[in-house]
């Protein structure tokens, strides 16, 4: 079925390690929580019908493709387009709905790794697309052509960032070494991203010609000033999650942890004291603490970045 052409960014279960997957879910749930609250603020009662129908739209629009060369076709992921017309937080919610449905209904993308799929294809694409779109428009100007150029660059980069993030996650899980995975993912998606960029710019061109007020709505959505902070925060959180000595070099949680128990005990001491009685009967302590430590570390970094972003958002909403 043409709808089911699996996108290279839909990571199935098994390809990411347990610790990496859990961190992904934690980050994704935070992002979803903020997105739900901010879009409710933005849209009120219209939130659910509008977001639901636009999620159906993204799902259907992913089937609209065009021939590129030698049997390949360009198609849409949609995160950047949704962010440009609805704002980054609404786009996060829309893309999350699409990815959850694809995972649950078509097994397109795994369940345990779904957190990362939501981040890669929803949050990263939406925020990159939006931040770049706004930035390019500010640099180039407000004209019609600059808007198309901004949409083009934003959409292309959004796919690229999603692909690079996926390569990092695969590397952190020990599934594919970074020196092979990163160039492969980045170059393949540099091409796939062109399809995304062409369709996104085409869609924006049509909206600009027929209903320009729709585009203005996206430009005043909440999170427009917090977008770059969010992006930086997420990137830092991602880097911390991946380069933390616990998650990296840790292809298969258990063996690695067992081997380096001594090292872990030492490095975990301060975190461990926060939760002295922490233990799970079915999981050996080291695994639980590994995951916990990575989660807490990520949360702290994310929290700081989010707090910075949040103050901007608040100022902005009061300003309106």
């Amino acid at each position: 079925m043409m709808w089911l052409a699996p996108h290279a960014l839909h990571v199935p279960d098994g390809f990411l390690s347990t610790a990496v997957s859990v961190v992904g879910w934690v980050l994704a749930l935070i992002a979803i929580g903020i997105a739900v609250r901010l879009t409710r603020y933005q849209l009120g009662e219209r939130q659910i019908p509008l977001m639901g129908l636009l999620a159906a739209f993204i799902f259907a629009a992913q089937a609209i493709n065009f021939p590129v060369a030698a049997g390949t076709s360009g198609h849409l992921l949609g995160g950047a387009l949704a962010a440009i017309v609805m704002g980054p937080w609404a786009a996060t919610l829309i893309m999350t709905a699409v990815i959850v449905t694809q995972g649950l209904l078509f097994q397109d993308g795994g369940l345990l790794v779904m957190g990362w799929n939501i981040l890669n294809m929803g949050v990263f694409t939406a925020f990159t697309g939006y931040a770049v779109y706004v930035l390019v428009r500010r640099l180039v100007g407000e004209g019609r052509r600059s808007r198309l150029a901004a949409a083009f660059v934003g959409a292309w980069l959004s796919v690229e960032v999603g692909a690079i993030a996926t390569a990092f996650e695969l590397a952190a899980s020990g599934t594919s070494p970074l020196y092979l995975g990163l160039p492969a993912m980045a170059s393949v998606h540099a091409l796939i991203g062109l399809g995304e960029a062409i369709i996104t710019a085409g869609a924006i061109a049509l909206l600009q010609a027929s209903r320009p007020q729709v585009l203005e709505a996206g430009e005043t959505a909440p999170g427009r000033k917090g977008a770059s902070f969010m992006m930086i925060g997420l990137m830092v959180a991602l880097v911390v999650a991946i380069f933390s000595p616990l998650a990296s070099q840790n292809p298969d949680g258990l063996e690695f942890v067992a081997e380096r128990e001594g090292f872990l005990d030492r490095s975990l001491e301060p975190l461990f004291e926060l939760l002295p009685d922490y233990s799970i009967p079915f999981v050996p302590n080291e695994v639980a603490t590994t995951i916990l430590a990575v989660v807490i570390g990520t949360l702290i970094v994310f929290g700081i970045a989010w707090a910075i972003g949040r103050t901007t958002v608040r100022k902005e909403t009061i300003g309106e």
């Binding site: 098994g14 739900v36 629009a61 387009l81 062409i198």
Partner: protein, 260 residues
């Protein structure tokens, strides 16, 4: 031609179909988590988990090859791990003549473990979808404290998915009808093709936006107050509890044994 998803759910009146959807969601998630925690190369655990899965397929009154047939959707992604047997250091298993690449034993074990995890996890997810109606699945997610607005949004998306997808299909058919190809003449440029596709996406967006306004107005007229209500109710029965405890024991025991 209509976009149809009805083949995802397979109606039977089996004990698995009658389980509380919350139990099925939690057990599926636990199964995938257990696979993820299974040490590399612990083939007997992977085998045991596969037996559990296939017996559940059998209990669900489905064809034994049902989940296997659909599990090949993960195949394209195997590319992401295909370098592992060559890049992992360890004792060499065999050399590929001509290229000078060596397949190492730990690399092969890791690669096959990833395949086993991914293959069995996707089968568990397929089984969940095949035995649970999608609205019941969403109800289970919200009962398990998933953010409610998100679950309602997904429910709404599912409700209008078919209509919007049909709309997209009609546009694609219209484009095909107008895109006659004359042999011997140059094909239009990629940019032109892309602009057409982009315009289609743009007008699909406008139509969806207009539809959402009509739907919202109709909802308001019927007393919508910002909250979605569902008539679905499930209560945990003894069988549900037994099934949950049994699967946790069946999945947890080999993991604990293997770690000793």
């Amino acid at each position: 031609m209509h976009y149809d998803l009805s083949d995802q759910y397979h109606h039977r009146s089996s004990p698995i179909h009658h389980l509380d959807p919350r139990v099925k969601v939690v057990v599926t998630f636990f199964y995938i988590l257990a696979l993820s925690l299974t040490p590399e190369g612990a083939w007997w655990i992977f085998g045991f988990f596969l037996v559990i899965l296939l017996s559940t397929v059998w209990l669900a009154d489905l064809d034994l090859t049902f989940t296997i047939k659909r599990s090949f959707i993960v195949l394209p992604f195997v590319l992401a791990a295909v370098a592992l047997p060559f890049t992992t250091p360890g004792s060499s298993l065999l050399k590929i003549p001509g290229l000078g690449w060596t397949v190492t034993e730990p690399g092969m074990i890791r690669f096959l473990s990833i395949l086993a995890r991914s293959w069995q996890a996707v089968q568990a997810a397929i089984l969940l979808t095949a035995t649970t109606r999608f609205p019941d699945l969403l109800w289970a997610l919200s009962a398990l404290r998933f953010p409610k607005p998100l679950v309602s949004t997904i429910g709404f998306m599912y409700r209008y998915l078919f209509i919007v997808a049909d709309e997209a299909l009609r546009m694609i058919r219209a484009r095909t009808a107008r895109s006659a190809q004359v042999t011997g003449r140059a094909r239009p440029s990629i940019r032109w093709h892309g602009r057409v596709a982009g315009s289609m996406v743009g007008s699909l967006f406008l139509r969806t936006l207009a539809r959402s306004e009509r739907v919202y107005a109709a909802m308001i007229a019927r007393g919508y107050d910002g909250h979605m209500r569902s008539l679905i109710r499930f209560r945990m029965t003894n069988i549900d509890w037994i099934a949950s405890v049994l699967t946790v024991l069946l999945l947890g025991t080999p993991l604990i044994v293997s770690l000793r």
